[in-house]
């Protein structure tokens, strides 16, 4: 701005140009901000612990949440030849049943694997997951990660 004022060409016309540029740039920035804000309103998902979810009780039902925990050994049960699965997930704060259907079960899913499930609590208290992410603690680092 300073440099442009020192120049002879810095006439009102150049100021008008700057204004136009500012308006155009501002419109783009506002547009993107609008996109981000509206998208945030509809697609945020709370990340909570199993304990927090259990504490909320039936009231939690309506809300879409994300829960991380470990798959309890011996709890995995396949339904419809593997189209759906049922298992228990626990973290330090509690344990809850999960039912997952509608997507692929990741190859690395299994007992004691760390998982992230997304969905809501159903009327029977089972967590109805629409997304299942498995995070293999030992993924590429076979050893030393068993406790993770």
């Amino acid at each position: 701005m300073q440099s442009s004022l020192e120049r002879p060409s810095a006439s009102p016309a150049s100021l008008g140009r700057h204004l136009k540029l500012l308006v155009a740039g501002g419109a783009i920035v506002l547009g993107i901000a609008y996109l981000i804000v509206t998208a945030l309103q509809t697609s945020t998902v709370y990340y909570i612990t199993v304990g927090e979810l259990l504490q909320r009780g039936p009231a939690a039902g309506a809300q879409h949440v994300r829960v991380a925990g470990d798959v309890v050994p011996g709890s995995v049960e396949k339904i419809d030849a593997g189209l759906a699965i049922r298992f228990l997930v626990h973290d330090g704060s509690g344990q809850m049943p999960v039912y997952y259907r509608g997507g692929p079960v990741p190859d690395i899913f299994g007992e004691e694997v760390q998982v992230v499930v997304e969905g809501k609590v159903g009327p029977d208290g089972t967590f109805q997951a629409s997304t299942l992410l498995a995070k293999c603690p030992s993924k590429f680092e076979a050893e030393g990660a068993t406790g993770a």
């Binding site: 140009r17 998208a39 030849a81 189209l83 079960v105 007992e111 590429f140």
Partner: protein, 664 residues
Amino acid sequence: MADFGHIAIVAAFVIAAYAAIAAPLGVRLRAPELLASAYNAVLGVAILLSVASATLLLAFLTNDFSIKYVAEHSSREMPLSLVAAAFYGGQAGSLLYWGWTLSLFSALVALQQRRTDPTLMAYVHMTLMGVMTFFGLILGFVASPFEKMPVVPANGLGLNPLLYDLGMLYHPPMLLAGYMSWTIPFAFAVAALATGRLDVEWIKSTRRYALVAWAILGIGNMLGGWWAYRVLGWGGYWGWDPVENSAIMPWLIGTAFIHSVMIQERRGMLKVWNMALVLVTFYLAIFGTFVVRSGVINSVHSFAQSAIGPYFLGFLTLVVASTLSLLFWRLPRLRSENQLDSLLSREASFLVNNLLFLGLVFAIFWGTIFPLVSEAVQGTKITVGPPFFNQVAGPILVVLIALMGVGPLMPWRKGRAESLLRLFVPPVAFGVLVAAAVGLVKGFDQPKALASFGACAFVTATIATELFKGTLARRRATGENLALALGNLVSRNNRRYGGYVVHLGVVMIAVAVTASTAYQAERSAQLRPGESLQVAEYRLTFNGLRERAEPGVRIVEAQLAVEADRELVGTLITDKRFYRGFERQPSTSVGIRTTPLDDLYVVLAGWEADGSASFMVFVNPLVIWIWLGGIVCAAGALVAMWPQARPSLASVGAPTRGLAVGRA
């Protein structure tokens, strides 16, 4: 062997640190012998890290399980073809690969630019070797690939079956090399700031390196998507996972840079902006390596949490702080030589392009780190999933695509509204027509998809017109036939037309991504042998399960007969593989039948004792055009970065015939 490799790495670390100090010191003290020794050091580091890498490779080949890294990522049964995947399959190996390729690129740059101004090159070497020192530190003392086992095991643990795929052989090294190669443009930017020679020269020497880095990172992203599509079995190629996001962000900023750099070359504008873009691209590349390796953000990809996270964060902070202060110090010298004349100009359309790319990256970055931010601010972790990214990125990308058609038609400086209107009416009309036509066939319930198709058609029309006009003009001027005129047009103006080819590739990808997102069909079912399932135009009949064994692996495979429009078109096989040592983690192979129109994508989900099996079936329209578009983009990039033998001499005078003959 372990000691040998370790010593090579430590020596590389010491020499890199020496070069990073000697180079600027040589400039200060005006001591050419110091500069020469820094130059030699750059070459020396490349040799030492090559030795270290060769040592690790040899350890894999000879099954030297006294080295922890080898014992954990390999076994006696592992086929030789997987050695490369094992090499960078783990953390230490992938960092060694990063450092090694950086040392090679640094040496290459040093050799190529021997005749470039030694002061500038001294600071380039300083920066490259500074980054190198950091990797040497990590590799030598924090995450060493040559750490020894306390007891030598009889056999290794073997490579994780998830890595048993061709895509895995190519996509991680390409991505890592993509991250790494942005160090070169970054080094030139730092050198320009340090020397204060901020004219167009540094841009010229950086431009081609930036284009190479951009291409490598782009190919890496593409291969990553290809691997995910073929291996992960959820029917898609892009899931907005934090690791994917951090790989696409530097590429997007890099894309903004290779566009806005043209304005600086042409008009001497946007100097600070370009500088900032190069710096930010490098920050994001380091951030990407950090995200992949630190586990701070919950990701499917996240690897075991490790000690290197804090080191990367510290390094990133140091780099950001030092380069930003350098930039502020030089701000007075980065004044623009010109001003924007009009909103109706190519400069303005590039500016809009840059703003959109930056906005897109901001949105992706924000969405990626949102869990961290919300936890810090509110105390609760809030995540945003793919819907957020799709909602934000979709519209921005459609506008960006449309801009690919606007930019090339805009004249530099100032365009006249009337003539531009004449120029734009036909392609815009074509775009609207195509969007309407697709709407009539597929319905108008997906307006975003139609907008995207319309934008793609508009761009295709403008590029075709440009090529056609250019070719005709050249034929008139030179008397060449059409094919020769087109060939010469492209080779004489390779940057421009290479750019158009890339744009065409992007259009192919955009059409395919839009179609496969908006019109994907999906069904899942449990089938007994002999039963069928109809998905879109395909009818699948389950022919039963078969179990067989190959060395080191037990395979359960399902066979399905595929009919399209009541005609048998083939069989598909999808299976689960149980590798020795990984029996609890079967690896699923997706059955894919590709045609130019769509992919039939079948995943074996599981089976029961009675022989019935369950499947997830997707019909993904046009997916092959994503990969083909990627190839077109890579080809375009190659055209654009091809060195001009005789820079623009031919375009000066009219009598080009003699020159044309001389070249042909």
